[in-house]
Amino acid sequence: MLLKLARLSLWNRRSTALLTLVSLSLSVALLIGIDHLRHQARDSFQQTLSGTDLIVGPRGGQTNLLLTTVFQMGNPTNSLSPDSYRMLAEHPMVDWAVPIALGDTLKGFPVFATHWSYFEHYRYGQRQPLSFAEGRPFAASSDREVVLGAAVAKELGYELGDDIVIAHGSAGVSFTHHDDHPMTVVGLLEPTGTPVDRRVHMTLKAMEALHNDEGHDSHDSHSPDEHAHDHNDHSEHSHAGEAQAEAVPGNINAVLLGLKSRPAVFGLQRDINQYREEPMTALIPGVALTELWQLLGVAENLLYLISFLVLLATLAGMMTMLLASMGERRRELAILRTVGASGLTLFWLIELEVLLLTIFSLATGLLLLTASLAIAQPWLATEFGLFIAINPISAQTAYLLAGILGLAALMGLVPAISAYRRALAEGLNPRL
């Protein structure tokens, strides 16, 4: 009966109750959403790269190197010479070395030019290797074969055997298309939930070829023969180099290193940072990821705090709404007193209204959040490389929801106690 009374009373004041419901839902969605995002971001972050002991790039900031090589954010500004790569690859402590060249895009997806051994050595999450959904890695010597990450293939709708055209520069729309150098999709990777999904993989040679073509295209006067000749040249080079540490066809942007013995990582990092022939920066991915996360963590905690304050403000709004309604509800409460409701009953009636309103807001807030995550997910993935699970509910969220409910009940004490005291102070028929 009390529940029915609370429900109908709220319904009777539905315009103000609805306003409260909407604002409370929004702040619940905001709080849970930010909590969800930060957990997702942290998980996603830690799962980005594993198994690589060092990332080496040209001299520069560690954060910048990490962002360009791991997340393909920003443009690489400098490059490493083939000589330095050879030095690293042939270093006695190094087990494997995977060169990377970046800077091109395919319809907004970053081109990741690398060596075939990338598919062998690259690890993410709990040292999981990359696996193929379809097809195979590109051939080591090919300059026309492409392997697509899961998100690229899905969003651009490419399948095995499709021809694609690469643009230069990182903008989604580029005016210098490499029209004369179409490439073929030979492999599709399984989704990883890391930036790998957004990479368009090809050989370093393929990228060089693209850039050579571009240079020629600008003069508008080259026969297909000449292109063919170029390609042959490259193939020969690569076959020659394959015997030793494979030579890279041109400048690269970074090298992923795996060491024979992990404890050697600090020594090697120091050696590389002090290398005389060419200024280089070496970073330990685990350490750099943690540092970057801590950097982001401040903003993230601040965001969380703000969303919590928004919730508090909204709950205070609800409290005010209920307190204000006490005036117009004096008669209603007096009638309840007349038929025998105790002051305590009125107290519980108001608390029940608060809880009803809050539970509804939690439900609609979660619904709102799930819906907006479902809508925003593809966009977050393409624009920011953030891979967010759509379902925001976890054990952690349950605690958060219970906390919000508790807080609402606490704030509800103010109007509830006011109803209780008013009930006892006023007679049966308050003069209005």
């Binding site: 009966m1 009374l5 309840l336 025998g340 009953t345 006892l424 007679g427 049966l428 028929n429």
Partner: protein
Amino acid sequence: MHTDNTNTASSPAIELSDLQFSWSSGGGPLLDIPRLTLARGERVFLYGPSGSGKTSLLNLLAGVSLPQKGQVQLLGQNLSSLSDRQRDRFRARHIGVVFQQFNLIPYLSVQDNIELAAHFARLEQKRPELHRRTRELLAALGLSAELAGRPASQLSMGQQQRVAVARALITRPEILLADEPSSALDTDTRNAFMQLLLAQAEASDCTLVFVSHDRSLAKHFDRQLHMRELTPSPVAGEVA
């Protein structure tokens, strides 16, 4: 429940003794009643102009406020000896109240308004019986059954007052307090209402305390009381 055990049939319905009551502790007493006894089934017309302490007396009789001095005994139960909660329960079980207006919660249906009283009197366990009695009361008060589902706010004033009587009587109270229940009604409706109220009070064997400033209604009652008899003499205190 010990509130039920006390009302032996022999005790009077209402017994006030040495009662003094004032709103503010500093001012003189608003009510000063050395002794007042109403027998069971008695129908009393309480006359007094506004401001003469009628509402305060009703609050005392309903157990919403307690006197500073003296006793209010209803059905042999001294209200001062009950806790707040017990007094609320006592009111729910034994007292029906009808006001001049605003008796009903506007957004509840007529049926819900009536059953609300039964809920607080803990009578709802016998739901079918409750429904039957609600319909009976509505019929006896000249209200059609289809009104039961309508929100109280859609009724006319006359209908609302009759529903208020049904609401007051659903718990079969021993005492019915009516505070100017007919003064918001026009003359024709008022006469019909008075007849129904008195008939139902009699049928339910209630002690009826009817408060009004309209002396023409006094003829319907066994006994008449003037508020003047219940308030301190003008010399002792200042009375409006």
